[in-house]
Symmetry: C2
Subunit: 358 residues, 2 copies
């Protein structure tokens, strides 16, 4: 039984992941319905506003689901959102068992649906593949628990930790495959964020592969040029964070937030908060050196994607991938759950900074 449960839950995760990057602000959810040990239907949540996975699965089959088992990676909802509560649909369709990987961290739900199902006489199992399921929805879990966007920091550095050579050259440190891979990563996130120095130096477009994500620029003195690609090519998807002290300017295609400085800098916490209030659930930070440093120093970088190119740049004056004040060794973030893979000639290291020892 447990083995079958694992297999079908694995499938819900795979199904859920198919909509990665498109369900925001909702989590990714997949559902499988099994009757007499055979799968009779499945479904996944494709986009906010469209049916939830459980409803998709129930509606996707002509077989009577009465007496069947429903597998789902996240606790079904019990509240009216853009669609009616799934719990009611499950109860009315006479499903007799529900297997859930994780509780919904949303305080509006968090266990309530499970109780409601149980009260209706449905057998409920919770917790199998819990960690895998929470990791899949790491963005949603962060949103629900901390009421802020999930932050991933991406870097492309030489083996010795430089993002630009001593003479300033930085195009390209990593190979074509890595750059393509990084562009696809953008599709996972709601918003791509960079510092103004990166805009001035590289004039990037920051587009995704399939998606046109929001772009945010931390630009205290509002130095961004009207001729930059970001200003020219974005219609209402560019957000600029400037200091309250900056000379007020407006841009046809961009929204400018003027925020108060702290210790002479724009606090990234306030920036994230403003982004979250505007519906952005996840941020992909693409540098540069000082911008990345801020997110680590404020303990707000939740995930890293470090691309290491097999190059030695050297140079005391070359630009370090992460600048700022830096950490003392005993208090520095430790990266957990590291994964290492080769992308073309480069190495990609992903992981989760842990600030816990501080």
């Amino acid at each position: 039984m447990a083995k079958q449960d694992i297999n079908f839950l694995e499938k819900t995760l795979t199904l859920a992941g198919r909509a990665e990057g498109y369900t925001s602000p909702n989590p990714m959810v997949g559902a499988v319905i099994v009757k007499n040990n055979r799968e009779i239907s499945c479904g996944f949540h494709k986009k906010s506003g469209l049916p939830h996975a459980e409803v998709e699965a129930i509606n996707n089959t002509k077989v009577n689901v009465s007496g069947a088992t429903l597998y789902v990676n996240l606790e079904p909802c019990c509240h009216f959102g853009k669609t009616p509560p799934c719990v009611d649909k499950i109860i009315s369709s006479k499903i007799k068992r529900v297997v859930v990987a994780t509780k919904d961290p949303n305080p509006v739900v968090c266990g309530k649906s499970i109780n409601k199902l149980k009260k209706a006489g449905i057998k409920v199992s919770v917790g199998l593949l819990k960690e895998k399921a929470s990791r899949l929805n790491e963005v949603f879990f962060k949103n629900m628990k901390e009421k802020r966007p999930f932050v991933a920091v991406k870097l492309a550095q030489s083996l010795d930790g430089k993002i630009a050579a001593a003479n300033g050259s930085s195009k390209w440190i990593t190979g074509e495959k890595s750059r393509k891979f990084a562009r696809r990563l953008r599709d996972k996130y709601d918003c791509i964020l960079v510092g103004i120095n990166t805009v001035v130096k590289d004039n990037p477009r920051l587009n995704g592969f399939k998606k046109n994500p929001y772009k945010a620029v931390i630009d205290p003195a509002l130095r961004i040029s009207r001729n930059s690609c970001l200003i020219k090519n974005n219609s209402q998807k560019l957000i600029i964070f400037a200091s309250e002290k900056a000379k007020k300017k407006s841009f046809r295609n961009a929204k400018v937030f003027f925020i108060g400085e702290e210790n002479g800098k724009l606090p990234v916490k306030k920036i994230l908060s403003a982004l979250y209030q505007n519906g952005i659930t996840s941020v992909f930070v693409e540098g540069g050196s000082e911008t990345a440093a801020k997110f680590f120093e404020e303990k707000l970088a939740d995930k890293i994607y470090f691309f290491l190119s097999p190059k030695i740049l050297g140079g005391k004056k070359a630009l370090a991938s992460i600048g700022g004040k830096g950490f003392p060794l005993k208090d520095c973030p430790q990266v957990n759950d590291m994964m290492i893979e080769k992308i073309g000639q480069d190495i990609l290291i992903t992981g989760y900074p842990d600030y816990g020892r501080q």
Copy 2:
């Protein structure tokens, strides 16, 4: 036949490698003797002055080796060194076939032995597993071809390329397993080299795991303290390189070479040349930042061992693993044949810098 040849040659490599770190200035060599498709003897070169692998193998069996095949990873010698030429022994023992992985790069040999064997009516095959065999003896090949020691540079850095935090703390960046691993690596090399800053800051011992290697310090102004571990604990195995301009001093336990500066620095080429003249065939450079940089800038770092700890140190003023002037991106060394492995929590990246594009 080819498959059997590969298997027995693989075994010669394994045998040869058993003496890694102990054969200097000789190469590592293993030999296997096969008669009627069965191995009847084997041997390896254990130490300079002791018998060569071929002779070991011939002497190790009571079976008559006449008509047998000899497998050996390096072309047998044909010159008198500390022991008589192996070629004569092979011929007189009536071996009928010799399978050699690579020619001896030593100009005194380089193909001459193969010709001598052929002239004696012995069938000789050369070249199978050639690359693997040259890599095993990368130190010896470098010595023979460039008349200088092989140089490996070891670094222990945070994920973002720092070898010390902004506040100077650097103990320890990598974990215990990596540090133990690095100590074992020292056993592979004749000499461990550091810059004086590392001595002043860390006061290291630089001992191997089983071996007591030579230690070299680049110390232009001859600042090393008589109380440092290196001076106190070494009997005649410490070599210090100082500038001709430095105030002359002598140390009971150390040899001091005074060498001429170039552009205000001690040229590492001259340092390597002095070491080679003193019988040192391989150097393991353990930093710091500026010392490592010199070897890359002079295109003399042949191999890297980069230990990456899962830490984020950050800090504009933190110490970069490789300092110096640095390279422009288009001319920087590219690391080839990278190998990536986990050592405890850390990542070890080994590879071979290629300066060829310059």
